[in-house]
Symmetry: C2
Subunit: 426 residues, 2 copies
């Protein structure tokens, strides 16, 4: 069947998925975890095939590492499922219940979004995480994983889907998309898919954002900044900068640009450059920076660049305001930090920097659903509509207004015969 | 200056608008109300010019009525502003404050979305409502009203803007767009405008949705249904149906289709048809319906049509499920009601119908921000991302994560040297 037809059919399954109770959804999650244990041998075998093909293609070691799905990773995803089962149900939460008038009750409660399409990198653990997040939140899911994990994904999908349906969730509540053509098809299904969550390279996410009418949640660039204020503690600043740059340079929350207040530059920069040298980080500085430390010259383009590598750009600013303006102009509204002992400067920075995360005196690398205590994340959003920052279960639900009446008509309120009295019932 | 340049400049004003305190924003609102009083004569004069031009063009009476801005309407918008001032500040609300580890505090608090573009119908009161909602929520606003209200809007805008800036809000926090070319320009400003809220005809809203990468909040069609269940009270059903159809047929929450359970059809339909006849409503029924009452034949196309007129389509269904499927297929996910005395049927309907509003035993016309007790609404959204249903101040804000650290680096948590302990602080 065509992707489009399957997606449209999924749309019809949605209400039934939404109506599945918490108990059933948690039982399905437990069944999924058990099925992974039961089919472990086949899953590992499928993963071996992917790894062999990837090695043959000469795929780089870090990618291979992410592609590998072994006992340890299986244990991780299973404890992730356990944790997810323990999380409170995101559905049927009543935001408020209001008496509009006698016998006329308005209520707002959470419901799933509907059909969510998630396109994720070649990490088999992502397949488990994403599909179980969708199950927990009562959403139907179209899942497309990185093609290098093709065999593992296919096996994992059938294990997960079969277990979920056997547990009682509706048939057709999940589907697997496998090819790039499938993605192109999906992008056109704005009448069937409610939300797309693409993960992966900037170009890929940008391509998705530019080629669909479906709302997209995610981030393309992650150009994160660290601004070292005049009143910074240098001993605190240096390890934070190093961590933000090198703890995992390929992550979207790694720092790409260092902004330094002029008053502290000649003390901070030599200390930072020493640490960078010891850790193979290339510093690219403006002329001001070059005047203080020996470094590679930075061009305008550097401040627009997400290196995802052991490279960092640096610039000296004359004021907090200049730093804020730079960040709002060049940044990607992801996560930016100020290092300062000055409460007022920190407050002003956190107030005026227009990013999903604004930090004081710590590494930008903390921008992550697990570290925020959300249990799991489906992605990080730099958009301002719907969810922002690391997105957990909460970003996968919307709400519905219910009114329970007893024959009320608007004519009576328009004519003044009746009037609203709004009384909160909870 | 070009719209685009002005919008980009506005983007830079945003953080300062966001940082304006509650007191200042409320003072600005008070100043706006005072300025409207002060400049009333000029505003009424400008409105006279619009009315004269509209009459000359032969614009229909209901449109003229909406265009007219008189003492009574000025009083209405001013009491609206008073109410808005009294509403709690939507900004700086702290959703949670969590200790991730000692000296590492995560906080989520509400912030404005940024730059909001609102395109609204030729009603001068809308100009006041929309601009003051944006002021209250700390958003910068691009305002484009219906061209028939050109003179009134221009006058009102300058009164509102001048008062807001004189009160201390940043220059450039609002701008007026005046022509259709301006709208086309705005649609391209996805790097400057964070959210578009178009109101007006279906075709117009659809045009906006189809021609921009900016997130759009609103609704095109409003195809609302009333389903009369087998267990309905006919005496309750008939006035509710009549109200939903005729209380204000041009509204998006007016009912367009009546679905009737077969078991009650031969008792309900004659009663409904009698009332429709007495109120000049044209009933368009399927063959089943025609067999019970004399009416105009309904075509497939009728069930896709938002009449916005004294016309209603009708169909007989064999079950609650058929009604739900019909609504999810033909509806616009706006507002749909069930008339029934059966609790279980009502629950099932409200659960499975995928609309922003699902009602029991009352008119669909209740779908409105004022009637919901939100104080004011900026529009009604049929989208599921971000705000849904009638959207008040809450839909004009997003949030930001702040972390207050004391030198923490992620490396320490990755290595196991430190660990998170997540403690809720509020």
């Amino acid at each position: 069947m065509e992707i489009r037809e399957r997606a449209l059919r999924m749309k019809q399954v949605c209400p039934h998925m939404a109506a599945s109770g918490e108990e059933l959804r948690n039982a399905a999650l437990r069944a999924v975890s058990d099925a992974i244990t039961e089919h472990k041998a086949e899953i590992l075998e499928a993963n071996e095939a992917d790894l062999a093909a990837a090695k043959e293609k000469g795929i780089p070691a870090p990618v291979l590492k992410r592609l590998k799905f072994d006992d340890a990773k299986i244990q991780d995803v299973q404890s992730g499922i356990e944790e997810l089962i323990g999380l409170p149900d995101p559905l049927d939460r009543i935001h408020f219940r209001r008496e509009m008038d006698e016998g006329l009750i308005l209520e707002r409660r959470t419901v799933p979004i509907g059909v969510i399409g998630v396109i994720f990198e070649a990490r088999p653990d992502a397949m488990v995480q994403v599909s179980t997040l969708c199950l927990k939140s009562g959403n139907c899911a179209v899942l497309k994983g990185g093609s290098e994990a093709k065999n593992t994904n296919r096996k994992l999908f059938s294990v997960i889907y079969d277990a979920a349906v056997a547990a009682g969730l509706p048939e057709g509540c999940m589907m697997l998309a496998e090819t790039h053509d499938d993605i192109d098809e999906l992008l056109k299904c704005d009448d069937a898919i409610d939300l797309l969550i693409p993960r992966g390279s900037n170009e890929f996410v940008k391509h998705i954002m530019d080629n669909t009418k479906i709302p997209v949640m995610g981030h393309a660039d992650g150009i994160c900044h660290i601004y070292v204020d005049a009143a910074a503690d240098i001993d605190l600043a240096v390890p934070v900068i190093l961590d933000a740059k090198t703890q995992y340079p390929a992550a979207c929350n790694a720092a790409e640009t260092l902004l330094v207040h002029r008053d502290i530059a000649d003390r901070l920069l030599p200390a930072v450059q020493e640490t960078f040298r010891a850790n193979q980080v290339e510093l690219r500085g403006t002329e001001d920076v070059q005047a203080i430390v020996d470094c590679v010259p930075a061009e305008e383009e550097d401040f627009h660049t997400e290196y995802l590598d052991h490279i960092i750009s640096a610039k000296i600013v004359d004021s907090l305001e200049e730093a804020i303006d730079h960040i709002n102009k060049y940044g990607s509204h992801h996560t930016d930090a100020i290092i300062t002992d000055d409460d007022e400067a920190a407050e002003r920075f956190m107030q005026l920097v227009d990013s999903a995360g604004v930090y004081r005196n710590c590494s930008t690398r903390f921008a992550d659903g697990f570290r925020y205590g959300f249990g799991a994340e489906v992605g990080i959003s730099t958009g301002k509509i719907h969810a922002r920052g690391p997105v957990g279960l909460e970003g996968l639900v919307t709400y519905k207004y219910r009114i329970y009446g007893s024959g009320q008509i608007v004519g009576d309120y328009a004519s003044g015969k009746k009037s609203f009295h709004f009384k909160e019932l909870m």
